[in-house]
């Protein structure tokens, strides 16, 4: 089994990762939690700012097809405390800041599961600290590199690919550790806040269950395409096509 720590922000992706890793017996040694109280990211739901770690409310988000779920109203601080996971809160959302780099250096484990702010590039300094960042990219690599690839792949062939990679300096160019393709048949699923985190989580848990650190280089025969933040028209075309099928 891999010894690992986690780097999180309080969003749906982190909640889904943490709750499901723990449920499957994969307990991180330590959690670095990035939390700038004055900043709300686009990826935060309206619940993220309102729910405290003492809340007992529940809001289960589920993907029946993949048999996976998480509680959106369970703050990540509550999850780490309930499971006696050592944690440190860093008052910054900048993954490349001195404060975050210092905490990364303090971690004993070689592997860190990354669930920091989306769309961030880890710069050379943080990548030079001897840690390997495990990242789950919601796209079949190298065919679907870049941003919001779920929408493009759903529009293209009604599937969602997902790849576990190690972060390197290029965008989604690190070695692929594990990848899966999913056909989602159930309808009316929110892509951003439910499908994306749960598909990533299913893949992450699948990787941990296999726990073979296979540092496969991305297939160079397969053509790589880099996508950028999806325009609302493509987003709508993708969601509406998927709900019609």
């Amino acid at each position: 089994m891999i010894n690992f720590s986690v780097l999180l922000i309080n969003n749906n992706r982190s909640k889904a990762y943490l709750q499901n890793l723990i449920k499957n017996g994969f307990i991180p040694k330590k959690a670095i939690i990035l939390n700038d109280k004055n900043v709300t990211l686009a990826e935060h739901t309206e619940n993220d700012k309102l729910i405290s770690k003492d809340s007992n409310q529940k809001f289960i988000r589920r993907l029946i097809d993949l048999d996976i779920e998480f509680d959106e109203k369970e703050h990540i601080l509550k999850t780490v405390e309930n499971n006696n996971i050592e944690y440190i809160i860093v008052d910054s959302l900048d993954i490349n800041s001195k404060e975050v780099i210092k905490e990364v250096e303090n971690i004993d484990e070689e592997y860190i599961v990354y669930s920091g702010p989306g769309g961030t590039i880890l710069r050379a300094e943080i990548l030079s600290k001897g840690k390997k960042f495990i990242h789950v990219h919601p796209g079949w690599l190298p065919k679907f590199r870049g941003s919001t690839t779920i929408y493009y792949s759903m529009l293209h062939n009604s599937t969602v690919g997902c790849s576990v990679i190690l972060f390197e300096e290029g965008i989604d160019e690190g070695p692929v550790l594990y990848k899966q393709n999913y056909k989602i048949l159930e309808k009316q699923i929110d892509f951003d806040y439910v499908l994306d985190p749960l598909v990533r989580t299913k893949t992450l848990v699948g990787f941990f269950k296999n726990s073979l650190l296979n540092l496969e280089k991305q297939d160079e025969n397969e053509e790589a395409t880099t996508f950028f933040i999806v325009h609302p028209f493509i987003k709508h075309a993708s969601i509406i096509k998927y709900n019609k099928k």
């Binding site: 686009a42 065919k143 062939n157 395409t225 933040i229 609302p232 028209f233």
Partner: protein, 204 residues
């Protein structure tokens, strides 16, 4: 029925396409986590594009139609690529040339997606902006039309990279359309929207 409910409960429904309501060259849009608006969104974007076409048609009548055939000069100047000449060159090129220039186009898309502007010149080596000037308005419809050519000859998922950039460039054009005053700018902007509407029609 819906009207009376929205009136009684003082609910405001946004009927306009919101992505072109401000000058996108001054205030670029990031498009992060955009709101899902259902089928109504398609009507809104089509309305935005059709009204832009109508705007350009009217303006074209006023300024007069010249032959609107663009010829390019050499697009390489010292170590720079002159965007307008490069785009005109690609507009008049065969599919073979388009494929040959794909790497440069992908780098231009990348630069555009990051900065949401098209600059007068780029360095030839890395296709990074080598000018701070981004108000050559003809570049925007020309870029959109060149990307339409790429979209048309691409059958893989890569075509959505082109479409994504077309939609964003056309949002910019729509948002600053009153600044387009030269015949070529108007003529090619109208063509850019017409081409984009063909794709929209195929996908919905």
């Amino acid at each position: 029925m819906i009207e009376s409910i929205t009136k009684d409960f003082n609910i405001k429904i946004e009927n306009k396409y919101t992505y072109t309501q401000r000058n996108l060259l001054k205030f670029p849009h990031k498009y992060q986590y955009s709101k899902f608006e259902g089928n109504l969104f398609f009507d809104k974007i089509k309305e935005d594009r059709l009204s832009s076409i109508s705007f350009f048609e009217n303006r074209l009548h006023k300024v007069g139609i010249n032959n609107n055939i663009l010829t390019h000069q050499e697009y390489k100047f010292n170590t720079n690529l002159i965007l307008k000449d490069f785009l005109i060159y690609l507009s008049n090129s065969t599919n073979e040339i388009l494929i040959k220039e794909k790497i440069v186009i992908h780098l231009l898309i990348k630069r555009f997606e990051v900065g949401k502007k098209l600059y007068l010149t780029y360095d030839l080596k890395e296709i990074r902006k080598s000018s701070l000037e981004f108000e050559e308005l003809l570049n925007y419809p020309l870029f959109s039309l060149v990307l339409y050519k790429y979209y048309s000859i691409t059958k893989t998922e890569e075509r959505f990279v082109y479409l994504n950039a077309i939609l964003k460039v056309n949002d910019i054009i729509s948002s600053v359309k009153s600044d387009f005053i030269l015949s070529d700018e108007i003529y090619y902007s109208k063509k850019a929207f017409e081409s984009e509407l063909k794709i929209i029609g195929e996908l919905i």
